[in-house]
């Protein structure tokens, strides 16, 4: 009897203890950062290579080099894109996270408002080598203008126009199109017999938003005004979105089936010769994986309405890329900043960007001859002269979801043969704007 009672009491006591533990467990590391573990770091890398394993193989030797230099051991976790944002939000709300992490640069302003990441004010920037080392366009996508950046650029990417040299020659086209009118004309000549002029990834919300952004810019419109209020239904935004949707709706230079592509089928279509042109960021490695050789495709700047790519209305790509950030609750802030400095140093920038097929956002590293291939030269020039960051507003991800979804719906309408008019585009964008809370 007494034994049983005591066991019962023990169990109750144990359970109560367990219940109380999660409540106080968070206290240990939410104390605002410091040097709780000076000899280790945890690093969440985004998936840049062909697979998570591929990333691990590429990063591990670099992390070992960093350990040799500083004596700090870095624990690496490569997080797939589908999980990364959820994981970061989880880390922000619990205060338990990595020390250093990669973020998609379009999330910068949104994540900045959570206050979970260490702001790179002048003092912190000085510790990683200074702000002047980086391209201006890459710096523009590290947070809201006028605030201390929430992250530092790590890899930069831009869109280019990839075209199939043989299909172009067969159709008698001698040079890639420089304006959208030329692209549509060429596209019509290349379309026929099961082949299409252009491949678009119409079911992919993020791809849609990247294109909608550039087209709106070229029509002189922004999706947010200076005060951060959504302006989705401005004439320029409507015209821009319509011009993109018209590739399927009016011009019919992209296959209707493209409207449901969301698993990079458009890259495969281009590589297999089913489509003659593709708008993509650093597609080279991906194309070669599908069996296309580098001499079979050419890369040109993304077309503009008229003239040549440049600032203002002749922006022809978003600033795509990855930033590296430090978690404010890190138990090893010094080590984390050292690691950021290491990763953005010239040597690592050349090596990692070279392996991933991206462009170094660090000016000195991007001058390296390794980035002088025809493909990367086009992308590098775009980043330096004609790229603009997606809106750096706290509601960026909501904007991406709602407007990207609207474009997806409009493409689906076009694919099903329903008419897409200025009015229908406007109505769909108005609905998206109303859903912005």
């Amino acid at each position: 009897m007494s034994v049983r009672v005591r066991t019962a009491i023990g169990a109750v006591f144990g359970a109560t203890l367990l219940a109380a533990l999660p409540g106080c467990g968070g206290g240990t590391s939410t104390g605002g950062g410091g040097d709780g573990h000076p000899k280790t770091l945890t690093y969440w890398a985004s998936n840049q290579g062909a697979s998570l394993e591929d990333d691990k193989a590429k990063l591990t030797p670099e992390l070992q080099a960093f350990e040799k230099q500083t004596g700090i051991k870095v624990k690496l976790e490569v997080v797939p894109w589908t999980d990364l944002l959820n994981r970061i939000l989880g880390a922000a709300s619990s205060g338990q996270g990595p020390d250093v992490l990669n973020i998609g640069n379009t999330w910068s302003a949104s994540l900045q408002t959570t206050g979970a990441l260490l702001p790179f004010d002048d003092k912190n920037f000085a510790k990683v080598g200074g702000r002047d080392r980086f391209q201006d366009s890459a710096l523009a996508s590290t947070g809201a203008p006028g605030k201390a950046p929430t992250a530092v650029p790590l890899y930069s990417l831009a869109y280019g126009l990839y075209y199939n040299k043989k299909l172009f020659a067969d159709a008698g086209i001698t040079k890639p199109p420089a304006t959208w009118d030329e692209l549509v004309q060429d596209g019509k000549r290349l379309t026929g017999g099961g082949h299409y002029g252009l491949a678009v990834e119409g079911g992919n919300v993020s791809e849609n938003i990247h294109h909608a952004f550039v087209f709106a810019k070229q029509h002189g419109a922004d999706f947010f005004d200076a005060a951060g209020k959504p302006t989705f239904t401005s004439q320029g935004a409507v015209d821009g979105v319509k011009q993109y949707v018209d590739f399927i709706a009016r011009d019919k230079i992209a296959a209707p089936g493209n409207a449901e592509y969301a698993q990079n089928e458009s890259v495969a279509d281009f590589a297999n010769g089913k489509a003659a042109m593709l708008l993509w960021q650093a597609a080279g490695a991906n194309l070669q994986k599908h069996g296309m050789k580098p001499d079979q495709y050419g890369v040109a700047p993304v077309p503009v309405q008229s003239g040549t790519p440049g600032p203002g209305n002749n922006i022809d790509t978003m600033v795509a890329g990855i930033n590296i950030a430090v978690f404010k609750n890190s138990g090893n802030l010094d080590g984390a900043l050292k690691f950021v400095q290491f990763m953005t140093g010239d040597a690592e920038q050349k090596k990692l960007n070279g392996e991933y097929g991206s462009i170094p956002p660090v000016k000195t590293a991007s001058q390296d001859p390794a980035f002088n291939t025809p493909e990367l030269t086009v992308l590098r020039n775009a980043i330096a002269t004609s790229a603009a960051p997606l809106p750096q507003v706290p509601k960026e991800s909501q904007f991406e979801e709602l407007v990207g979804g609207a474009v997806k719906d409009l493409l689906a309408d076009a694919a099903a043969g329903r008419p897409v008019t200025t009015q229908s585009v406007q109505a769909r964008l108005a609905k998206a704007q109303q859903q912005m809370q």
Binding site: V5, A8, T16, A19, L89, A92, A259, P394, Q434
Partner: protein, 331 residues
């Protein structure tokens, strides 16, 4: 036996026996010792129930009353209270957000009714047909159960490939081979997405109905069928008058479980359509996910979840009340 008697023998009050010295560590009044012990033993379970179910649910309700966006996720308890604000937005069907939620709710209801009905129909039909012994019955049963045994992601992504517009198997068979449709149809975008979702969901869940009904059929005595056959009952009369009434209690649970699973299903539409589903396939769980996680508005998402929880509770309670009362009356 003797110990039991012995244990109850001492009167209330201080226990004089020397053997109980050990017990001083935990001095428990006799009343508690006799009457309270069962409750004491239940306490751990109660505490775990609190941790696992009640506290998260209460936290969800609390969050739904707050304006919880990314600005506050680091200290979510400091997010400003909005009172019923999130709920007002969610149920205001004249505004876009409420309207979208209502549309998604209606789609989910239609989808659930059809999916549960078809699952039950297929499951029952297959189980009844396979009630008698025949060669290959075991093999067929195993084949029928495969969809249920396959990992969800793998099987649904295969369906997504089959539903593709250009290279999918479904269009190849329907359009290229049979010529049923005049041009290839879209299954993953537009209005057809409702039917593709329905097909995949029924394909995944009917084996569960089959399994349950098959188990239920084992308990029906063969003599009933033999006796009814002698009385001249045909196969339909046997099903209507013997099989279905005997399966009543199984069906009650089966339909409820299928209803809750289907209504709450997140993985199937998410794998099939991704995070932004077409309107016709926009099931409510994915809708709430995009309303909270993707757009970083956790308060609104919590409010929608609470509304969904209330709806499911009301439906479940009403269903159990109705079906149980019916059974009691018959009994």
């Amino acid at each position: 036996m003797t110990t039991t008697v012995h244990r109850q023998a001492p009167p209330a009050g201080p226990d004089p026996r020397p053997e109980d010295d050990r017990r001083r560590l935990f001095r428990i009044p006799d009343r508690v010792r006799r009457g309270g012990l069962p409750y004491l033993l239940l306490l751990p379970a109660l505490i775990f129930e609190l941790i696992v179910h009640v506290i998260p649910m209460v936290l969800g309700v609390v969050m739904s009353l707050k304006e919880l966006t990314q600005l506050y996720i680091r200290q979510w308890w400091q997010a400003p209270w909005t009172g019923w604000g999130n709920y007002r937005v969610a149920v205001d069907v004249n505004a876009p957000i409420g309207r979208a939620l209502l549309d998604s709710f209606l789609v989910t209801c239609a989808f659930t009714v059809l999916a549960v009905g078809l699952c039950w129909l297929f499951g029952t039909a297959a189980a009844v047909l396979m009630q008698d012994h025949f060669r290959g019955r075991g093999v067929l049963r195993a084949i029928f159960l495969t969809p249920y045994a396959l990992p969800l992601y793998a099987s649904v992504i295969v369906w997504a490939f089959m539903f593709q517009h250009d290279n999918g198997l479904v269009n190849h068979v329907l359009h290229d081979q049979l010529g049923v449709t005049s041009k290839p149809s879209f299954w993953l975008i537009g209005d057809n997405s409702f039917f593709s979702l329905l097909v995949v969901s029924v394909w995944r869940n009917w084996p569960f109905a089959f399994l349950c009904v098959m188990a239920g059929l084992q308990n029906i005595p063969r003599e009933l069928y033999e006796a009814s056959a002698i009385d001249g009952a045909g196969i339909w009369q046997q099903i209507r008058l013997i099989t279905l009434p005997s399966l009543r209690s199984i069906n009650q649970v089966l339909v409820l479980v299928l209803f809750l699973w289907t209504f709450n299903d997140f993985a199937t539409p998410y794998v099939l359509f991704g995070r932004s589903a077409p309107a016709a396939g926009d099931l409510i769980s994915v809708h709430i996910y995009s309303a909270s996680f993707v757009t970083w508005n956790f308060g609104a998402g919590s409010a929608m979840s609470v509304l969904m929880l209330l709806f499911l509770s009301v439906v479940t309670a009403a269903y159990l009340l109705l079906t149980s009362r019916g059974r009691r009356n018959r009994g």
